[in-house]
């Protein structure tokens, strides 16, 4: 199957970047396997395909990397895509911000907002996705503000402990994939 990172960066077989990625063939193979496990899993388990793609499209939208944004957006129905895009527009900010544990690092605290899904979004996204997107915003922009109550909010919204692991991996993997796509695209244009 096609390698998503190669496709998004536009790495042609036989190119210089193809050779460089081939030197890390395990990383290349398992970055793709991570994608497959998250979006085409053997067992879809507790997180539906639509939920997985909506969270991914939200993460991609927040990063504003055009290729990944278009890729994940295209996986959604028009209605869901529009609902996610409307939330991205109000959620996008600068990061990383957040507070450190109280002590010497408090001097570096950069407190910032806890973002909430709009009322319109809440209606469009159904019962569980709003809590997941709110958590996603924290993971993307201010992960050092994470605390147990954020996970309780997900549990209360109907996500199980195992679902939370999958959702966390989705956001964290996307944070990796988008940076690789962006970084390698920059490198490709300076070869």
């Amino acid at each position: 199957m096609t390698d998503v990172i190669d496709t998004l960066v536009g790495i042609a077989p036989g190119s210089k970047l193809d050779a460089i990625r081939a030197n890390r063939s395990e990383a290349r193979k398992h970055a793709q396997a991570s994608y497959t496990s998250l979006f085409e899993p053997r067992d879809i388990a507790g997180v539906t395909a639509d939920e997985r793609h909506a969270i991914a499209a939200f993460v991609a939208g927040l990063h504003g990397e055009p290729r990944t944004d278009a890729f994940y957006g295209a996986k959604l129905s028009a209605g869901l895509r529009a609902a996610v895009a409307a939330e991205v527009a109000t959620a996008k900010t600068k990061g990383p911000y957040g507070r450190f544990p109280k002590g010497p690092l408090s001097a570096e605290d950069a407190p910032g907002p806890t973002w909430k899904v709009s009322d319109t979004g809440r209606k469009a996204l159904g019962p569980r996705l709003p809590a997941a997107l709110e958590h996603t915003h924290m993971l993307v922009f201010h992960p050092r503000d994470a605390a147990a109550p954020a996970l309780q909010a997900l549990l209360d919204a109907g996500w199980s402990t195992t679902d939370i692991v999958t959702v966390s991996q989705l956001v964290a993997f996307l944070s990796y994939q988008i940076r690789v796509v962006s970084g390698l695209s920059t490198l490709a244009s300076s070869l």
């Binding site: 398992h30 990397e65 992960p143 970084g183």
Partner: protein
């Protein structure tokens, strides 16, 4: 019935970035060892990780954990060409410092110090952050890692030129992109599923 988060046992929270060994306490329930199937155990890749609550928690989604771990190992341990190990670890430590992951930074600052023997420089990165004075090569690596980590991402041609000027070839730059990007994955799991604790 809705599940509840865990209350970690009494512990001391680290309040500075450190190279000391730390513990990690989960906020949601890891798998119990006796409930793990062959598939769950295989997803740990290293059998000894069954003792780690972090990996037993991630094993709830075993295919993703295994792919994550094999990606991680090739980015950091593959000795073939590219960026020296010490500097892959430096990129991981710098990323963790900027995102604020005290646990991740402790592990990778230890590795960076061990492989480079530049304990004082690594400690300065932990103490002062990604703007710390190091040397031209390390400052270029730290700046590139920070540009890949911050949002909006600002990693551009000027970072690549600066990295080339201090001696990184294309394979080394690709390794740096891999290492810094990977820690944007790892930091988010470590920071959001539990908390660090000082040992002893």
């Amino acid at each position: 019935m809705t599940e509840k988060t865990l209350t970690p046992p009494p512990h001391t929270e680290p309040v500075v970035f450190t190279r000391d060994m730390l513990d990690w306490l989960p906020w949601i329930e890891p798998m119990a060892e006796q409930d793990m199937t062959e598939r769950h155990l295989a997803s740990l890749v290293d059998a000894s990780r069954v003792k780690s609550p972090y990996f037993r928690l991630l094993a709830r989604d075993p295919d993703v954990l295994e792919a994550r771990t094999r990606t991680d190992k090739d980015i950091f341990y593959n000795p073939e060409a590219g960026l020296p190990r010490a500097e892959r670890e430096l990129a991981a430590a710098a990323t963790s410092r900027l995102n604020g992951c005290i646990y991740c930074a402790s592990v990778h600052a230890r590795f960076a110090a061990t492989y480079s023997k530049r304990v004082d420089d690594v400690q300065r990165l932990l103490d002062e952050g990604v703007g710390a004075r190091l040397d031209e090569r390390w400052e270029a690596i730290v700046a590139a890692s920070a540009a890949l980590t911050a949002l909006p991402m600002s990693f551009g041609k000027e970072h690549i030129e600066r990295l080339r000027k201090v001696g990184l070839d294309d394979a080394a730059i690709a390794d740096l992109i891999g290492a810094a990007s990977f820690f944007n994955w790892a930091n988010r799991l470590m920071l959001s599923l539990g908390e660090p604790a000082t040992q002893g």
